[in-house]
Symmetry: C2
Subunit: 567 residues, 2 copies
Amino acid sequence: MSFEPLRGYLRNSASADLIAALLVSLLLVPQALAYAQLAGLPAVAGLYASILPLAVYAWLGGSAGVALSLGPVAILSLMTAAALQPLAAAGSAAYMAGAVMLTALVGLFLLAMSILRLGVLANFLSHPVIAGFVSGSAILIAASQLGHLLGIRGAGQSLPDLLPSLWAQLDQVHLPTLLLGLGSICFLLTLRQLHRCGLPVRLAGWLVRLGALLLVLLGIAASALFGLEALGVRVVGTVPAGLPPLTLPPLDLQLLRELWPAALLIALVGFVESVSIAQSLEARRRRSVNPDQELCGQAGANLAAAFTGGFPVAASFSRSALALETPVATPRVGLWVAALMLGAALGLAPLLQHLPQAVLAASILVAILGLIDLRTLRRTWRYSRQDGVAQLVTLVGVLAHGVEAGIVLGVGLSLLLFLWRTSRPHIAVIGLLPGSEHFRNVERFDTLDSATVLSLRVDESLYFPNARYLEERIAELVAARPQARHVVLQCSGVNLIDASALDSLETIGARLASAGLQLHFSEVKGPVMDRLKRSDFLERFGGQVFVSQYQALATLDPELIARNRAL
Amino acid sequence: MSFEPLRGYLRNSASADLIAALLVSLLLVPQALAYAQLAGLPAVAGLYASILPLAVYAWLGGSAGVALSLGPVAILSLMTAAALQPLAAAGSAAYMAGAVMLTALVGLFLLAMSILRLGVLANFLSHPVIAGFVSGSAILIAASQLGHLLGIRGAGQSLPDLLPSLWAQLDQVHLPTLLLGLGSICFLLTLRQLHRCGLPVRLAGWLVRLGALLLVLLGIAASALFGLEALGVRVVGTVPAGLPPLTLPPLDLQLLRELWPAALLIALVGFVESVSIAQSLEARRRRSVNPDQELCGQAGANLAAAFTGGFPVAASFSRSALALETPVATPRVGLWVAALMLGAALGLAPLLQHLPQAVLAASILVAILGLIDLRTLRRTWRYSRQDGVAQLVTLVGVLAHGVEAGIVLGVGLSLLLFLWRTSRPHIAVIGLLPGSEHFRNVERFDTLDSATVLSLRVDESLYFPNARYLEERIAELVAARPQARHVVLQCSGVNLIDASALDSLETIGARLASAGLQLHFSEVKGPVMDRLKRSDFLERFGGQVFVSQYQALATLDPELIARNRAL
């Protein structure tokens, strides 16, 4: 940045950016503290993860015209805890080292995906799987905070782990902590109802947004004034004030082997969520998103996070949308947020030691409720059983076996269901729509049918999962029409014929020939035809390839076409 | 079978069946002995596996009008050895127990697949993967017999295991064994050339078929006469004469856990091979094959094999084709073969102790050569790079990592390649073929194009791997045509719209609308339309669904259609 543009920036947009950054920071401070607790990290790690990573991301540009608001997010924090809890006790040095390694791996995976232009990998997470994953994770997050709310210690990466451990300690519930937690929840829920009490909508909206920060400040004040710590209420505890420490991932191959699958999933989920947020925000401004550029920004941010405490970061929808509300804000908002968070880390640290954990748990619980979305599940189920099953299995998988197993299960199942679905393709007998040149399913339309020509439309690419089925089905259809002399496959729905299907077509052609029938094709698409020409199939199968099904009938059954013209 | 049909059978077909059974048995005896050696089992286990299993299969019927000729086959024997060698030393009691458990599991998997009608699972083994697997296995089988031929002991489930172990013992090569082995190979190869020396073709053919049996008998005679065993030539060794022992799978959960993946693969491979053989044989008789019935027969045969020694069985192409050469043979051939093999087990057992292992190795080597088929690889590669890669990776995977890893690699890769291929679908801009009602790719044909209507044909089902790509691609195409007011997606190639793609279509519709364009569809297939009607998409997207692309243009750009009519 040379001086001239800097001066122009300071004159024109700096004040708008600063205002947007202030709004974002007011939201980010309580979230950063709470999500650090969720990840099993010291509260201040959330603040650290909101400084250098944001600056790096703002500098690298990200995918969007206006940079997304990065930082700790709930689901990645849960995934971090799930990856690290089996390896070490939360808060221990080994746990911290694991967090640094995990974040570095996330950054490296994103960097590799960016270099290899593998942003397309994110597409394998289907919408139903993501929706199921988010709802399941939200429920799991809520359950993981119950312990903090009750003043007991429950740990586990799935409901079957977590709930019994909470149940066993139910007699040790700490009443002051529980009251404080319930009070905090009531405070936040009440703020959300204020707009119903005649308060101006804009003011009420701001009170809801500032609610979490107000609660944190009130919690610190109450804790300090009434000596809640002495009553046994667990607090965040002493926090080293100052700049984020410079951390380096440990050179531990064993740790690397244990953490890379979790890191890969965190990278994918963080990337998918960020790109979705960027797309939905940029669509409002009629701009498009460059996923590979986004990968690069995310990679830089996570590598920066690895060097300053270790806590995977991604874009947050609520904070990004907030930054966009200031219409003239530029991508440099992120730099201002980073500066403000640095101030918060320096200024807040001494106060944080009094902050009760139950207050953070309450703010997580209230924030997370909106993510539990069972209506989508009903809608998906109604539209497609298979997609509904994939969504439900992902949700239940996350609850029953944890985040990693849940998402792997969901992705695997959606692939299997797709293959299953294509392994028995819809094959329609088609006939001529009278008076037109179009062919339609004889079972759905009144059509003109030829006695000697059997017209079939295959509604699927021909490839290995359905190659054998095609052989069986055509044999059945031909057997039911003893008068047929020609079989014409309309290939408008065939986008691919792979080597297995080519073998099957040869078999079908030979079998039909031995029964006195000739196989033909129509409406073969260009790319499919190009490939067929590379084999010797076209010379050997003995039939013709027609440009359209109508052409085929005009050649093979001219009488029918004459009757059609007469209509 | 009541008496009347039995009497009729004996009068009419029994003699033909007996002749077919004799021919099959002459082929089966040496193969059974050799494949048992390949599987690491005592030679007589091959004979045992050819008695009860064949009888059960003949009784259950199998898939074909004429039952296939079941028994030990080369590839399953190799897979058996690969599964058991890591667990115990070949020939040990633990190895035998493992073989029984493995065969029982194979039978149970086949039974489960039969009950659940999961014959369709076999379709996931694509033709290129099977071809690569067979070629790779054949090379591995040949390598595994080199030790027997050289008189040294080499073991391993892949070339990197096997070859160094042979190399290290190269100084211990046993010359008499090597000479015997090479002599046996020369004998078999010479028989194959006899038809060139003026011998009648039929007679020469029979000499080739009987070659392996002749070699076994010659080997036994030479070994006994010249006392080869005393020279250090390894022989099959003492064999318990008599009926197959009744064996039960051990109740060992640990063993079960270790063997089930191998058993599942053996079941799938054996089933696919058997169904392929049945289909190609039945096609000659213009009958079709019932895969679920075949599963039932194979399941019974393998369970029977588990109770009589333990050695997985499947259909053999050479033997099944031989049985078919006697045109009047009935499915009861299998019963006769079982009876003859019982005789062979009783009569041959005392002689077998003198049979040199090198003779069996030679007969395996010569038999297996025909399975190494690199020409298919070249053909597949030329037709489709992806299929070629899948075939090559399977072949190399089998050689480098063994049979199980090879096939899993091949199947996984072909699925991934398919998804990759569909994740960036071909999207063509289409125009009207002048004077017709048909639309074609504007880059391949001279077409009439509308300025205000952008016609797009998507050559792929719309589902999660390509949902996001569709959004990006349509945005690009629209950006290049500022005059366009309507976008019509011709859906003749769209066989499915899943929940993710439905979300993407909503996004696309909304973005187009915000840029002043309207989205429409044409030629939506019945099943896809039925599903769309279950969502509220059709009411909300604001456009129309036309029965054909021509209809769409007639409505949206009547001027163009008028010009076309004038042509």
